[in-house]
């Protein structure tokens, strides 16, 4: 079991309150996912030639100041960084590949969680309430977000195994359900040079989607191919730089509820995560149909 939440605000003034509006949604999914939580928020973009990198270091007391100095030295003097507990967001004009290589070689203990112009990503072990407090989710600002609470059923409970998973730039995926063929997908993708960070089943889906998009498929085509390749149960919620996309397996084995009004689109595994949203009584509430792709644009 796991819990999924997604929120996309339609009014610019609500972007300031994105995290605050989301908090009861994530906390409402605590029973479905008490062991880890994670969230990707899509913010205003960094300047044209810039990228931001969400990174994580499990070691408590890690010296981020030394890391920042090294980043400026390796990636350019204009490199900026903000730290929140075990996470940091690095903003740089260096190309993504240079940053990835530098991290891999010089800082193996620092894990890259996301790359893009809009995405910030946090994930960690602990209850949703603990993780949200650790990374101050309540004050996040942005146009849309994707969140997850995890009850692990198939692989270890570690920050790396928590959701969201990312592929490419400004793209992430969360999953409620379980896949029965993650290893055959992995055996298919690894010879193509696609690397895996964990043995998590959702990561197999994520790498599969990454591969299809890298090969030039658009998101709907990628998802349709996923219906053929991915065996198992899933509700997938994906975030792109300006969209939320939702899809359920053919048997609708895993729940999902959507609430929409002129202020927001909110998605959760269950209504209890939507109950505290403003003006929810007048929102259109529905359950997404199986194998139908729902996309909302920020």
């Amino acid at each position: 079991m796991c819990g999924i939440v997604g929120l996309l605000v339609k009014k610019p003034e609500l972007r300031e309150r994105l995290g605050e509006l989301m908090m009861p949604m994530l906390l409402g999914m605590t029973e479905r996912g008490p062991d880890s939580a994670g969230l990707a928020v899509f913010t205003a973009p960094v300047a044209e030639d810039w990228l931001k990198f969400s990174v994580y270091c499990a070691k408590s007391g890690f010296d981020w100041i030394v890391f920042e100095d090294a980043a400026r030295h390796a990636l350019g003097k204009d490199t900026r960084m903000s730290v929140q507990a075990n996470h940091a967001i690095v903003e740089s004009t260096a190309p993504a590949e240079q940053v990835k290589d530098w991290l891999k070689q010089a800082w193996p203990q620092v894990h890259l969680l996301s790359v893009g112009q809009r995405i910030d990503l946090y994930k960690d072990t602990g209850t949703p309430g603990e993780v949200a407090a650790r990374y101050d989710f309540a004050h996040l600002k942005g146009t849309h977000l994707v969140g997850h609470t995890r009850m692990a059923t198939e692989s270890a409970v570690t920050p790396a195994h928590a959701h969201p998973f990312t592929a490419g730039e400004d793209w992430c995926l969360v999953h409620n359900g379980s896949l029965s063929n993650p290893y055959s997908i992995r055996r298919k993708l690894e010879p193509l040079g696609i690397e895996f960070d964990t043995d998590n089943d959702t990561e197999a889906a994520c790498r599969y989607f990454e591969w299809r998009m890298r090969e030039g498929d658009d998101l709907p085509t990628t998802i349709h191919k996923g219906f053929e390749e991915l065996d198992g149960f899933f509700t997938f919620l994906m975030g792109t730089r300006d969209e939320l996309a939702l899809v359920r397996d053919a048997f609708a084995c895993k729940p999902a509820v959507v609430a929409e009004n002129d202020q927001y689109v909110a998605i959760a595994s269950e209504f209890r995560s939507l109950a505290k949203l403003p003006d929810i009584k007048n929102a259109k509430i529905f359950e997404p149909a199986p194998e139908e792709i729902y996309v909302w644009r920020a």
Binding site: F251, A252, P255, E270, F271, R272, S273, L274, A275, K276, I285, F286, E287, A289, P290
Partner: protein
């Protein structure tokens, strides 16, 4: 047995109101199970259900319960004598395992509505999700809207009435339950077949529609029941059905 609630609820004229924004659901369900009869309560309102699971499950007294909002998983499950109305949508497994009584959902019902229920009446004003009436064993289910795929899968006894459309694999592996569908059937499941409506069907369906509060003409429905070809093992079928 003494009451289990820390604060005794205020009963007025056989009515009592519980607000789930203030009271844990467990206390409300314990009152419904243990204190209801002694307190002479005939009507219960549950405010702010907000999608909580298992509201008003296992009721075994003739009481009316109004759930004033959306309910989560298993609302009014295992009902025996109560009449429960959900003034909103119901989550997965509403009225599952019911043996008698009546459950009404004013909005839509999620998957597995009325699953494995032995008796009573479940009325869903809106649509029902996938697997509505799965393995039903005697319940009557009337859905004002449409039902999702695999509805009445392995349904053994009772009646499923669908005023809208039915999804794929309707009535797969049916036993003796009967399905009436007013709209389109996306596809029938293995061993389900459409049959002509008899006079007896019209009387039975007319009575059910009236009880459920729908004015449709029974003659506008199709009857789906078991072709009974799966009742006996056919070694020559080579697992193809």
């Amino acid at each position: 047995m003494a009451g289990v609630m820390e604060r005794a609820p205020q009963v007025r004229g056989g009515k009592v109101v519980f607000d789930l924004a203030e009271l844990p659901l467990r206390e409300v369900n314990q009152f419904l199970h243990q204190d209801l009869r002694a307190a002479g309560v005939k009507e219960v309102r549950v405010l702010n259900p907000d999608g909580a699971h298992s509201i008003a499950v296992g009721l075994d007294a003739p009481v009316h319960v109004d759930i004033e909002g959306h309910a989560g998983y298993y609302a009014a499950g295992m009902n025996q004598h109560a009449s429960v109305t959900v003034h909103g949508n119901a989550g997965p497994g509403v009225a599952e395992g019911m043996t008698a009584g009546e459950v009404r959902v004013k909005g839509y019902a999620s998957v597995s509505a009325g699953a494995a229920a032995h008796g009573g009446l479940l009325v869903i004003d809106g649509d029902a999700g996938l697997r509505c009436g799965i393995s039903m064993k005697g319940i009557d289910i009337v859905v004002g809207g449409s039902v999702g795929d695999f509805s009445a899968f392995m349904a053994q006894a009772g009646t499923l009435v669908v005023c809208g459309d039915a999804g794929d694999a309707l009535g797969d592996s049916l036993y003796e339950a009967v399905i009436y569908v007013r709209g389109k059937i996306a596809s029938l499941g293995a061993d389900a077949k459409v049959e002509p409506m008899t006079e007896e069907d019209c009387v039975r369906l007319g009575a059910l529609l009236k009880k459920a509060g729908f004015a449709h003409d029974p003659k506008s429905f199709k009857r789906v029941s078991s072709a009974r070809t799966l009742y006996h093992w056919n070694a020559d079928a080579n697992q193809e059905y």
